[in-house]
Symmetry: D2
């Protein structure tokens, strides 16, 4: 922590700050400047809370020097973490694509979509049976029946299964079937759910919400890792900005998360641009920027999809996306990979 | 819903859109323009999903005309809703202030703070026993023991109690003690928790998260009201923008929410500006803009507060805030009010 | 400047940073910490540029401690600056309202509006003759002819005149007539225009653009003050955020600018909320938050206004705004004031 | 324009709106719905201003259907525009890289940098002699002397020259030397400067400012094209969001601008991420997303660069960026190209 005093801070105010630092068992290091004095603090074991310093008389700013996350940081673990999702390695040299429809609709649609994903080279099937409805009068998904359809699709295709959990009550059942559990943007700050998935020891994909900082995303991951589940994957899916023609996608998040953390980084180009005609371009960009994998909405008849109709690709469009993403992956020295 | 075609849309594409509208049992109303054609849609009972239209060939835009919330809208109920919080009417002519420390620390601190709130004219005591820690290595609050201290403070002062719930598991116990339940910003998109508080039939304060639109806030309220609990209060607490010197507070949200909805609107000037020296000014502004109430952090010794040290006011500063907010309330034809 | 080293920085990298600091004639103050080392820098006369430090091996962050503005800061001048706008003192105990139509339309409209502003207690007439059109096919305003109408309105009502300049070429002529010159949001980062108005020595109102930080606004003011024109007024007019129902207004900017700077702070509630039915509430909030004055759009027949129809108030609505803003001004110990 | 009435709009209010539409010489098309009525408007030659409608009683919303730009839109011109920058075709199948130091420092640095750019395959040299200082106490660049050094670098390397103009006064002289003129983010809303460069008939690169929408960027381009200069290139350079670890880059802007407009689209990965270690990844992503060219900061000794030290690449890093961008360009069926 660095405490910056105001230029008009009195000697008494400076002494008061130094005394308070000492009262916490820490050491104050005054740095007198031309216009103002700063005070460095050392001796703390973890991050200090700047709030109290900010309200002391004579203090202009309290600047945190350390980050509040540790285990997920690359400083603690320089090597990339590779997470095994049902036999698919994520975070290594290969780039993986998890794809499927936004929700499970029925048996025929599920099997048809899963086969299209497999045939185009997808590495896992991704779809949701338990749905957290964002509109009050929308349905809640098929639940258990949908989960059974997903298990059937997994058996029929050999693809690992990625599916979302939105409440702790459904977690145990979902964890029996899923190869990786996804925490949606609406729940990624729900600490209780993060703690629940930490107990399950299945891979957890944490999606960054549209108004959440990279630091908060890394803190959410730290909640899971610090409770004993190191199999965490981060996912960028777009942020909320003033631009309204299309959504905004924080492409810089990809190299930045790779630099700050050793965890695998995924990108969701479907929700990241929100319209089907832009998905393939964004998918290529994400791979070019260093993403370890993609989450893509695919549906046999997107116009009739129960959810995510606008960004969903039909099987031919998805196959085209795979070709484009594969070419870019090779251009950056990687390969697209399917299940082992 | 209004479908706007591209200028280069073919007659076949237009027919396809009109056919699709008909297939949904709805009526298409083409409006040919100089440069492009639009198609109005009528006959729908609820809001239509624009996603499918956006992906049809020849379609430039699909513009929703109706809002996805109904019961909370002023169009459905023109008169202000007045919510009773333990005998305190919120949403009527009087402006109420709910105040207290961010977390329950111990018995002495709790009683001292509650008395300071009462003595300065606060309408309810507000503090949290069950805490949802945003940092992985922070504590989780006193839980049940803290709730008992809050009940004691309520008995000692006669002030109604407002406290937060962050997981469904603790809800039943909290609802026994609290006069109003607060849903924090980290949980306001957690649909399962919204549905749970809808069952409880206690007043619910929903705080807008920093990256959430007014429409999403109203949708969260609709989740609760549509499940049978009409006692909902909305709270603006600041939004996340590019400005970093202090947080940003969306003051326009106050008159806008009052115009769009009949529900009471509260403001949190403490987290809304984030530093103690700005809280009183923001509190006055919120009342001047039409807020029905304020949520304020108060602590006997803010420098030593376990949470929210930077914005917390000491009792003298809080009394000063009450004087200023009261003067502004009278200037707009209202009064500050305490418990009955 | 504080340089924070990475936890894995080598001793050689630290020495390199210290050597570089010395090569600039400055002094390095290493502060060894548990996890990482920071290096304070002293001896600089002005602000240092962090860019070079950020690219040195082993450096995690370079944190500026000083602000790049000086003359406009309250640290340099603790007392409020009071600016004289044609006999009206701005920044003192009285709150002033500058009002008028967005553009000069014709003689009758100009005189009628100016009289309505005067009759309701406005302190200055504000309208634009030289218009910077934001749409390629929109008109450019009446120019010189409009300026003459403004001069006539000024003579007829006795109100000082506030008008915008958008290019240096028109400045000399505008400065002959205007009592204060306004720099619009589209030009507030146009350094050449800022330097030009610095030469004129008339009061200058700088409007913060929708994507500009408070620091950048203060830098724009510093450009003018440091070139010899101390008569600068700051104006908050709303910022661009993700919220789209109405524009966002950064109400926290008002107490924050008053704290950081000694310059008067104005608010524009008309463009700040963008719709006429919210203007009065926002005007009251701005005064409650400490604004020294308001800029308000008034038009005799807003529906037919050539510009800014949505937020413009008719004379009766403006008189009502003045009553409301006046009551709030008195509640915070101030008064609305007209011309001397 | 579509006018949406409030559910409680009276028949008289609807008639009033329809009468007003008729008074403008336009045709009203009422579309009665279940909950509310909408009114389509046809007959307008150009875009209508929604402002007046928004203030009519009974009106909930006025939604613009047409865009305010025309000539730059792909609807008007389906084929890509290819702009010739000193013999380099931009907007065709080849991807171009314009690179150089932020400012001209001296003769040796300029020639050394230009040669490094040429040797690595850059298509043009880009650097600034006339600088618009964002800090009040910073220097203003070498001006005319710098321009002469740029002309010398152009002669020595054969690379076309791209340089910035920030005020109309310097435009004629800059246009004599430059092959393309750049309008910086601080000036892209400066309509007078846009109109001035429209007269010059040299290619104009318009950089999107950090708080500006895509629509506003296209409007700025329309200002230039509609005044007779069709040689406009658009440039995305990052936007301002709540994220602070690094800047945000709106990668979706690239496919979206290509879809909305026929103009070439450039990307600036240097300012787009702001730190040298992320520039190459962002450059690759921009090419993968469809950018027609890149603007890159290069300096022989970045640590000592007078401007833009943090993102600047040294010659070896730049050569590496060129290899990576070239591989991605080939993966998407394009090639990096140098001067003819």
């Amino acid at each position: 922590m660095l405490i910056v005093l105001r230029p008009d801070a009195t000697p008494e105010q400076q002494l008061e700050v130094e005394w308070y630092i000492g009262s916490l068992g820490l050491t104050a290091h005054p740095i007198p400047g031309t216009a103002r004095t700063a005070i460095g603090i050392t001796g703390n074991q973890g991050p200090l809370d700047p709030e109290a310093f900010r309200r002391m008389p004579g203090v202009a700013e309290a600047i945190a020097v350390s980050q509040p996350y540790r285990l997920v940081s690359r400083e603690v673990r320089p090597d990339d973490t590779v997470v095994d999702v049902g036999g698919v390695a994520v975070g290594g040299v290969e780039v993986v694509v998890f794809a499927g429809s936004g929700t499970v609709e029925d048996r025929a649609q599920t099997l048809e979509t899963a086969r299209a994903v497999r045939d185009a080279g997808g590495a896992a099937y991704r779809s949701n049976a338990y749905v957290s409805p964002d509109r009050p009068y929308a349905g809640a998904g098929l639940g258990e029946a949908g989960l059974e359809l997903l298990a059937e699709a997994r058996a029929a295709t050999g693809l690992p299964l990625v599916t979302e959990v939105s409440e702790a009550a459904a977690l145990a059942r979902i964890a029996e079937v899923a190869d990786a559990i996804e925490i949606g943007a609406r729940n990624m700050l729900n600490v209780h759910l993060l703690h629940a998935v930490a107990e399950v020891r299945k891979p957890v994909i944490i999606r960054r919400a549209v108004g959440v900082t990279l630091r908060e995303l890394l803190l959410a991951a730290e909640h899971v890792v610090s409770r004993g589940n190191p199999h965490v994957l981060l996912c960028e899916r777009g942020i909320r900005t003033f631009e309204t023609v299309v959504d905004s996608f924080d492409i810089n998040a990809i190299p930045t998360l790779k630099r700050l953390s050793h965890l695998p980084v995924l990108a969701d180009p479907s929700r990241g641009i929100g319209v089907h005609h832009g998905v393939a371009a964004l998918a290529r960009a994400a791979v070019a920027a260093g993403a370890d994998g993609l989450l893509v909405h695919v549906h046999p008849r997107p116009l009739h999809a129960h959810a995510d109709a606008a960004p969903s690709l039909d099987p031919a469009q998805f196959a085209e996306l795979m070709r484009g993403a594969g070419a870019v992956a090779r251009a950056v020295g990687r390969e697209l990979a399917g299940p082992a």
